[in-house]
């Protein structure tokens, strides 16, 4: 056994993580997002080291990795949420449909209407369910009259699988819903703006398994229409919902591959250690 072991580790050590050493398939043919040479610094500390990664059209890309590996930071670069953190410095090429999203003339507000985000903790506004969903549409002036807005709110809630549960309580506070419902409300609020990409930052980590299952189901449904990038701590979740999985480790992108191959036969020893629950 030991002989075989050493043999395998030797095999795997040929992948060098130090220099953009991502194994697998980080780049794909028909990307929605392309990111190259992404470095992120928090003050003096570098959080992400030279990540090259594509997100495909209408795919669900899952990002996994231990805490502090940079997966959330990377996700938040994609709609420039990191701009709100003053000490955070992002460098690299980010292109959405070939368009540089960090260009001088690119408006982060416009970008965020194209790239929506759902956060870890359900964070509905302290307003009614209706107003929560209508918020983005009102903000961007997407509808011209009340009837259209009503329609949009209803459609978004239906698509988020929440309408049946709340249709009689649209004017009750969104904060009065259960955790899972709140998170679906946040998803409804995000898709009401009709973004092209939805980023999800550990969307189910605060939810019970049933609420989690509902949201996972929703993600799979949404992936037909939207490009979804999700950061998750639950490997089972990544395995269930995503078509590709990216493994981050200490700010580096270690491996990207089709989800089933990552979970049955990861190429990199670090990935294997992480997903099988071994000491890194």
């Amino acid at each position: 056994m030991t002989e075989a072991m050493t043999h395998n580790i030797e095999n795997r050590d040929e992948f060098n993580v130090e220099i953009n050493g991502t194994v697998g398939k980080p780049l794909i043919d028909d990307p929605k997002f392309t990111t190259r040479n992404v470095d992120v610094h928090y003050g003096d500390k570098q959080a992400i080291f030279g990540v090259d990664l594509d997100v495909g059209k209408n795919e669900v890309l899952a990002m996994i990795g231990p805490s502090g590996c940079g997966k959330s930071t990377y996700l938040r670069c994609l709609n420039r949420m990191n701009d709100t953190i003053p000490i955070c410095k992002v460098t690299g090429d980010f292109k959405l449909d070939g368009e540089d999203i960090y260009a001088k003339n690119q408006d982060p507000v416009l970008l965020r209407s194209r790239v929506g985000i759902v956060f870890q903790k359900p964070n509905p506004f302290p307003k009614s369910i209706y107003d929560n969903v209508a918020y983005g549409a009102r903000l961007h002036g997407l509808t011209s009259n009340r009837a259209e807005l009503d329609d949009l709110v209803e459609k978004s809630l239906i698509r988020a699988g929440l309408f049946k549960e709340v249709k009689d309580d649209l004017h009750k506070p969104g904060t009065g819903l259960s955790g899972g419902q709140q998170q679906r409300l946040c998803i409804a609020r995000t898709i009401a703006v009709d973004p092209e990409v939805i980023l999800m930052d550990e969307p189910t980590s605060a939810l019970d398994p049933i609420a989690t299952a509902l949201i996972e189901e929703l993600m799979i449904e949404l992936s037909g229409k939207y490009t979804i990038a999700i950061v998750t701590h639950s490997m089972q979740q990544a395995a269930r919902v995503s078509s590709r999985t990216a493994y981050f480790h200490m700010g580096k992108l270690v491996e990207v591959n089709d989800t089933d191959s990552v979970f049955t036969n990861p190429e990199h020893q670090l990935t294997e250690n992480y997903i099988t629950g071994r000491f890194g």
Binding site: M1, E3, A4, S261, V262, F263, T264, T276, G277, R278
Partner: protein, 236 residues
């Protein structure tokens, strides 16, 4: 492939336990097979009797290991290497159990053949085939124990040799049957023994396929062996 190093110590122990049990079962099957062959070649009716009636232990072990694998899948949701280990084990024990069955069959015929005065002239060939089968079985189990996929692919390439040996016995038995119709029963029994031996060889080769799946994550069943060998094991 390493089993230890999990954050959960109990998980380590569970996987180690499964693997150890498989090795024990493999040892038992190996012993069973070698004794069946010994009974056949030495015309030892007593030993044959013993072997034919003792595959209960192996059957029970299959059930136990199966159960344990189910539990690990349900409780630990193994991934990657761990998942492949559990899946491979589930398959390995099925094949081991079949080998046990074939050994029992051989013992059964050995019992009958032992009552006869002579085994008509095929002793040498049977002995030859048996040696090949035993080495294949031992080597496969060894490859599994050491997770040695190179050895596994070597065993897989013994395919042709196995078929040749089996065909020799087949042709000989047909010749015997044609020479004297009274030989038919005995020749058939010999042929069946050869058939069982061949099956054991085939199951051993299955074990090797699982070893390759387990170590390299490649399912090479129903593929071109030469192609696989060239692609993944160029140095073998």
């Amino acid at each position: 492939m390493e089993l230890g190093q999990h954050i959960s110590q109990r998980y380590n122990a569970e996987l180690e336990d499964i693997r150890n049990k498989v090795m024990t079962m493999g040892g038992l099957v190996e012993k069973q097979t070698s004794e069946a062959i010994k009974a056949l070649l030495d015309r030892d009716g007593e030993l044959a009797n013993e072997v034919a009636s003792s595959d209960d232990v192996i059957n029970q072990m299959e059930v136990d290991i199966d159960e344990e694998c189910t539990r690990v899948i349900a409780l630990r949701q193994p991934t990657a290497g761990d998942l492949r280990l559990v899946i491979a084990v589930v398959k390995v024990i099925t094949d081991l159990e079949r080998i046990g069955d074939e050994a029992a069959k051989i013992a059964h015929y050995a019992k009958k053949l032992a009552k006869k005065e002579t085994v008509t002239g095929m002793h040498a060939e049977l002995s030859h085939l048996s040696q090949l089968i035993m080495s294949m079985l031992q080597d496969s189990l060894d490859a599994f124990a050491r997770l040695d996929s190179e050895q596994a692919i070597k065993i897989l390439s013994q395919d042709i040799k196995l078929h040749k040996e089996f065909n020799v016995i087949s042709r000989l038995s047909i010749t015997h049957m044609m020479e004297d119709q009274r030989n038919i029963k005995q020749a058939l029994q010999v042929n069946w023994c050869a058939r069982s031996l061949e099956r054991i060889g085939a199951h051993s080769q299955n074990l090797c396929e699982y070893v390759i799946y387990l170590v390299n994550g490649k399912d090479i069943r129903h593929t071109n062996l030469e192609h696989v060998r060239r692609k993944y094991f160029p140095e073998v």
